[in-house]
């Protein structure tokens, strides 16, 4: 008969597996999933609405299209999130040309953007053609007298399609 040593006779206890109740965790994940699905935008266009801009409400359901983004508040103008005109700084003012229908700083920035797109179109294979689309994120309180100057400047810079960005609740 074989004898086991005393050490081997002692039955080793295995540590118990930790049993974690994940039911509530899954509840949270489901809620998060619903939340993410609800806020999902299938257009793929990321539009930043800067502080100081309140978008007008609309019933339209047309999805956004990619293009240059011009954001306009009562005191600032941005092009693709870069400030091109800031009237809050002392001494700054809107400088027009073309008989007061064109905002110079905006026009210069848009021309730069246009030439950049054109350059990419020429040099990169398979690059999309310059669409001439400008997404206008304009504060709802602005008067048409100012909005039309923005529109005129965009047209002069070679952007032929305006896309007025509006908000809509579901």
């Amino acid at each position: 008969m074989k004898y086991k040593s005393i050490r081997k006779r002692i039955r080793r206890k295995r540590p118990e597996a930790l049993d974690v109740d994940i039911t509530s965790l899954l509840d949270i994940l489901v809620i998060l999933l619903v939340f993410l699905l609800k806020s999902y935008n299938s257009s793929g266009v990321i539009l930043n609405v800067p502080k100081g801009i309140k978008l007008p409400f609309s019933q339209t359901k047309q999805l956004n299209t990619p293009g240059v983004i011009v954001q306009v508040s009562d005191s600032k103008i941005w092009v693709d999130d870069q400030v091109v005109l800031d009237l809050t700084k002392p001494g700054n003012r809107v400088i027009y040309d073309q008989g007061g229908t064109r905002i110079i700083s905006l026009f210069n920035e848009l021309r730069k953007k246009r030439s950049l797109y054109k350059q990419v179109e020429k040099t990169a294979k398979g690059a999309k053609k310059f669409s001439g689309i400008v997404n206008l994120v304009v504060d709802k309180g602005l008067k048409y007298s100012y909005v039309k100057k923005i529109l005129g400047t965009c047209a002069d810079a070679g952007f032929q399609k305006y896309k007025f960005v509006v908000s809509s609740t579901e």
Binding site: I10, K13, P15, E16, L18, D19, V20, D21, S24, L25, D27, I28, I31, L32, F35, K38, S39, N41, L47, V49, L55, P56, F57, S58, Q59, T60, K61, Q62, L63, N64, T65, T101, N135, V138, D139, K140, G141, L142, K143, Y144, S145, V147, K148, L151, G152, C154, A155, F159, Q160, K161, Y162, K163, F164, V165, V166, S167, S168, T169, E170
Partner: protein, 173 residues
């Protein structure tokens, strides 16, 4: 001499961590986030730049539908001479947009293939008002009369939009 106690005598008890209060807190936190979230989606309204063309005028007389927007009145005109179709005065603080919409539906009924409308707002009109008017001009609602036009193969297609090609006619004035 005392020696180190044997480890065999110790029993390791795996205490199950109580996650319930933590998860409760996270749950409340998520609800708070959900309620504070603004489910605002961004959409767009199209408009095109008016083009000055040197090409000869079309044989068919264009509808040339124009909407003049002043702080008190909306004036709908058509034709090359700008004949006034109808004027809508403000009733209270708001424009009579439903009357405008109905007039546009009637015009669309007679011009099923027409998509263009020219906007001529005056300087003092605010952007929010223009967007509201654009909505009335573009959207053909389900309650409106169903309009159909023929496609290339001769099939009837339901028209979903009234005048979706909006042009601002006075951006250089």
């Amino acid at each position: 001499m005392l020696r180190k106690p044997s480890r065999k005598n110790f029993k390791y008890k795996f205490q199950r961590p109580n996650l319930i209060p933590i998860l409760d807190a996270v749950f409340i936190f998520i609800f708070f986030l959900l309620f504070s979230a603004d489910f605002v989606n961004l959409f767009e309204i199209n408009s095109n730049v008016p083009i000055v063309s040197n090409s000869p005028p079309p044989k068919k007389i264009p509808l040339n539908l124009t909407l003049r927007i002043t702080p008190n009145t909306l004036t709908l005109k058509k034709g090359l001479n700008g004949r006034v179709v109808k004027s809508f005065r403000k009733s209270g603080p708001n424009y009579d947009l439903s009357a405008l919409h109905q007039s546009l539906v009637n015009i669309k009924k007679k011009n099923l293939y027409e998509r263009t409308i020219i906007f001529e707002p005056t300087n003092s009109v605010d952007y929010e008002t223009i967007v509201k008017i654009m909505d009335e001009v573009i959207i053909l609602r389900k309650m409106d009369e169903a309009l159909y036009r023929k496609d290339k193969s001769g099939l009837d297609i339901r028209i979903k939009e009234l005048f979706d090609d909006i042009i601002f006619g006075n951006i250089k004035s």
